[in-house]
Every structure is written in C-alpha cells, then in structure tokens.
Symmetry: none
Subunit: 185 residues, 4 copies
C-alpha cells in the first residue's frame, strides 16, 4: 500500500472524526505517517487532494451500487436494485456519503469533476427512460425523476443517521415502494 493511498485514507478518516472544517494538513501528515513534502509529491495542493478524494469516493460508491447488477432482471427489479444498493451504501458508509454531499457544492471541486458522468447513475437514468418508453413510468425529465427517488432514499437514511429514528429493512422497502408508486403511471 503506497503513501498516496495512506494520505487519501487518512483524510477521509479525519473528516469522519473531526468534521470537514477542522482538518489541517499537519493532522493529515501525522495520521498518514507521511512527511509534509511527501504529500506535495503526490498532490499539488489542497484542491487536488479534495478533488482526488471526491473522484475516489464517487467511484467507490458507484462500484458498490452497480455490483451484482442483473442486466436480465425486469425493469421494476432493476429500479428496486438501484435504490436498495444506494441505501446499503449510505448506511454502511455514512462518512463517505456525507463527504460526497458536502463537497459536491464546494468551490474546491472543479466543474469538470462535479459534472463527470457516473456510469452507474447513467444506467439508473437509462432504466427510468426505458420505463417511460414502455409506458410504465410517468413522462417527465428522467434526471428530475432520478433526483426525486434519490432524494427520498438518501433523506430517509440521513434521518436515520441523525438519530431521528431507527431503521429496519422494512422501512427501506417501504420507501422504495413509495418511490415506485409515485413515479409509475
């Protein structure tokens, strides 16, 4: 495992423990067991680090969600699959989720990276569009539709992570049902 990974891991760990605001480079150096100059060997500056981390974490989430995706499943099953896997990731990786949500708006994240097309999301949006073509899902901007169902599932997890309520699998299933019922014709 290289120093570069150490730095990225240490940064996410620290975000987890102390919150985004209070992170300093020297904390990262100490945590990653890395000299300060070593950092600059791998990352030109803070911005580059954060962008890299954002890319990494995005990819991690994307790959987690798409894993075990059954291309032969029905449209409804695929829809359920995406939301369920998203919920699973959010619950098991709360800090990654939180980092992604916060930094997506940050001036640090370059336009290019923020707008990069995520293949998993693309596939999900394709599924929605396909559903619309088949007359199963309501006609609307499929990206808006994606935001509707994505927002629902993520906010339900958020509420749970903020200790507003316990969350069992049945609530998650319920949420997915609500989403499906809402958007279907």
């Amino acid at each position: 495992m290289g120093k570069r990974e150490d730095i990225l891991n240490a940064t996410l760990d620290l975000i987890t423990e102390e919150g985004l605001q209070s992170i300093t480079f020297s904390k990262i150096f100490k945590r990653a067991n890395v000299g300060s100059a070593t950092f600059y060997h791998y990352f030109d500056n803070k911005e580059v680090l954060v962008n890299e981390l954002y890319k990494n974490t995005s990819k991690q989430m994307s790959e987690f969600v798409i894993k075990d995706y059954d291309i032969a499943a029905t449209l409804y099953e695929k829809f359920r699959f995406f939301l369920k896997k998203t919920a699973d990731f959010a619950i098991s990786h709360p800090n990654e989720l939180w980092f992604l949500e916060n930094y997506a708006h940050s001036p640090f994240i370059s336009e290019e990276i923020r707008n990069a097309v995520d293949p998993t999301i693309s596939e999900f949006i394709n599924i929605i569009a396909e559903g619309q073509r088949q007359g199963i899902i309501k006609d609307m901007n499929p990206v808006v539709c994606f935001q509707i169902v994505g927002g629902s599932i993520l906010f339900v997890i958020r509420g749970h992570l903020s200790n507003k309520y316990p969350l069992s699998d049945s609530e998650i299933q319920q949420t997915i049902e609500v989403c499906w019922k809402g958007i279907k014709v």
Copy 2:
C-alpha cells in the same frame, strides 16, 4: 439596528457572495463596519457565531414556509402548500439552504441546536399523521414520510441549482404530485 445584527447580516451576506470556505473574520468586520473586539463583545468565538446564524437561518426558513398557511384548507392542499413553499424558499435562498444543509452535520453546531424542534416541520408532520388517521396516507413512521417527500423536493431543487436542468413551475408541481401519489393509500 444594533451591531449584533450587523454582524449576523454581514456573515450571511458573505456566505452568499463568497461561499462558506473563504469567509474570514476580518472580512466580516469590514463588511459589518465593526471593530474586531466588538465582535467578541457579542460572540464568544466563531462557534457561537455559526450556531447563532444557524438558529437565525432555520427560523427564517421556518417562517418563510409557514407564511400564508391556511389552517382551514384541505389536507391535500396543506400538503401541497408545504412542499411548494419549501421549494420556493430553496430556489430563492440557495445559499441559506446550502448553509443549513452543510452546517447541520458540522461539529460546530451544538447538539441542542441541531435537535431543536422546528414548529413548521412539526406542523407538516402533524398533517401527515392526520392524513394517516383519516386513512388517506399510507401507514408508516410520519417522520420517515416527511424525509421522503422533503428529500424529493430538495433534491429536485438541488439538481436545478447545480445546473443539471432548468426548472419551471410545472416540474415543481409534477414533483409534488409524485410525492403525493407515492404516499397516499
């Protein structure tokens, strides 16, 4: 208008203009026309300022949403009202919204303030519970239900604010319809 207000206003203005990351105290002092020590006369430190601002902004949103609330309206109308007003606030106050979402997770915000009960949200949750009692809305944890519909509407706005798509009133109405259809029996 006292210096304390000046400081709070200047801070929010600066967040609006420059984003959260780049704000420094000296910028606040200059903007508020206030000596540095004056700041510390009113706020013990940065944390206190941010908490105060969070309380203020929460209240602002809460009051914006509840304004013109018609207690005599039907349950469906009330539901639509809350989501529409939330969307209106989000669109017209993007920086306030972003500040609230980001800082809600920050270690700066005290547990006490984070968990404070918002009367507008309470009323919305009550409406949901009332709908359930009347057999109009599906039986589920009303707070979870609130997160579902709130997440939908806010994510739709977010997507718009991130330039993913233009947003006309008809998309907002559509979103509200999806929410209602999803949760009703």
Copy 3:
C-alpha cells in the same frame, strides 16, 4: 466602602489567585463590580493603579510592623520587635508581600514611589545607627545592615511559603538570634 477601594481590593485578590502576569483590566472590572469607565474615573491608567496599590500595601505593612512599638524598650528588644513583626506580616500576608517584592523592581513603579521613605523602615535604621553609636552594633552602612537582617528574615519566610519547610515560632526566634549575633560587635 467606595468603588475605589473595591478596585484596589479586587486587584490584590486577583494577583493572589492568578498571579501577576495574567491579570487584565476586564477581570478587575468584573471582580470589582465596576464599569470600565468607572475605573478611569479613579485611576488615569494601569500605571497609576499599580503605583497606588504599591503605596497602599507598603503603608499597610509599615503600619502593621510599627503597631505596639514600645519606644521605651531596650535597643535589643526594639531590634527583635521589628524583625518579629516583619515575619508576622510576611506569614499572614503572603500575597501582599509577594506583590511588594515583585513590583518593587517593575518599571511600572515610579522612582518617586519606589524611593519614598518608609517611616517604619527609617525607625528601624535609626535603631541600628543608634546601636552603632552605643558601640553595640558593628560599624557599617546602616542601610546595608538593614538589608542583611531584612533579607534573612524574609528569605526564611519565603522558604516556608514555598513549602521548603514547616516554620514554628522557634525557627523565627532562631533566625532573629542569628541576625543579632551577626551584626553585634
């Protein structure tokens, strides 16, 4: 009891509790229950306060030591009296003592006040000079002689106050004996 006294008392109290270095005016204002401007009504600035305190405390010590002075006593008895009373004051007013010792060297104390003649000390030095005239005490600069015996007694108390050793009356008597034996012919 006037505000002026309150300020002086509060200042000495704070020196006692927190040490000289860490005293600030706002602490004094709070402790004395006095507005900041009230302070400046009585004392032009910090220097004046410290000088006033120095004068006050000097006088307090001086009056404590001279109290019950028996002008009819023998020279030896008078000598013992001064040293014993000095020791008594030092033990019972450690903070006053410490303030006097530290600030005597401070640039804050004006030359005028630092060099002001203390009547009690004058009387003690007179006693020494008288002893020399009578051929009882060794011939030397009486002020130097005063420093010798004063230094002895105060350092013995200091050592005690610094917890180097317990101190009973017999050690004090012993110290006085040493002083007397040292300077007598």
Copy 4:
C-alpha cells in the same frame, strides 16, 4: 548552533535589554532571525519557553557559582566562596537574577521545574550540615540556615542595584562576615 538555541538566547538578551514586561514574540522572532512558525516548532507555547528559560538560567547561575570551587578548601573558605560567587553573579547578571526571582513565583513555572534540586545549592547546604556535624555551625535546619545567609547576600546586592548605596568589595566581605558570625557556634 540550532534555531532553538537562537530563540532562547534572543529571549534572554531581550529580557536583559528591555525588561520582562515589554517582551513580545515578534521581538523575539526578529532578534532570533526566526520565522514565527519556527518558534512553535520548538516550543508549544509561551509557557514552555519561559520554563525552558528558567531551567537554563538556573543552570547558568548554578554553574557560575560552582566554577573554581576548591573541594580541598576549609569549611570556612567554602562558605565564603559560595556567598562571594553568589554576590558576583548577582552583580554581574542583575537581569538574570531578577528573572529567576520573579518567575519562581509565577504560575507559568511548573511545580516540577520550580522544585528541581540544584546541585550547587545542595552542595552549599551540605557544607552547612557538615559544619554543624563538626560543631562549628549552630544547630538548626540547614535549609533555613541557607535561606538566612542567601537572603542576606541577595538583599544587600538588591539594595545596591536599586541605587540605595554604592557597593565595594569591602561591603560584600563585611556581609559575608556578618553571615558567618551569625551562624557559627
């Protein structure tokens, strides 16, 4: 010579030149030719610096006094030696002396450092105890005895440094004689 030494030296120089009260960090940085952050690389904060300086200065005095100590000398000669060297140090290093006396009582100096055993003082106290064993010096707590003679010599120097009187070698010899006569049997 490292930066750490530079900082300590600059601090002592400044105390010597300007007195304790007026020292600021930026003066130290300039004098030591050191960036501000460099200071914090070596010393966690002001307190640590002052403690370190206290240790250094203590050691300096200790080494000055013990220098040229003749272990073969008679007890009386040793006694004279310690007092004479103490006086020499006090006269030639008034600021160091004053720093030691003032800061010994300061809350800045940690208990541990304040109570550290000085080998030169230990040796002096041993000499006193040895004199008592030989029946030359009066029986009393040797530490008290040390304070008696130390206080005498230091107060005599103090009086001189405060411009109360000129001081030639003969007054110092006289003072040492008084001390010896006072404590011997």
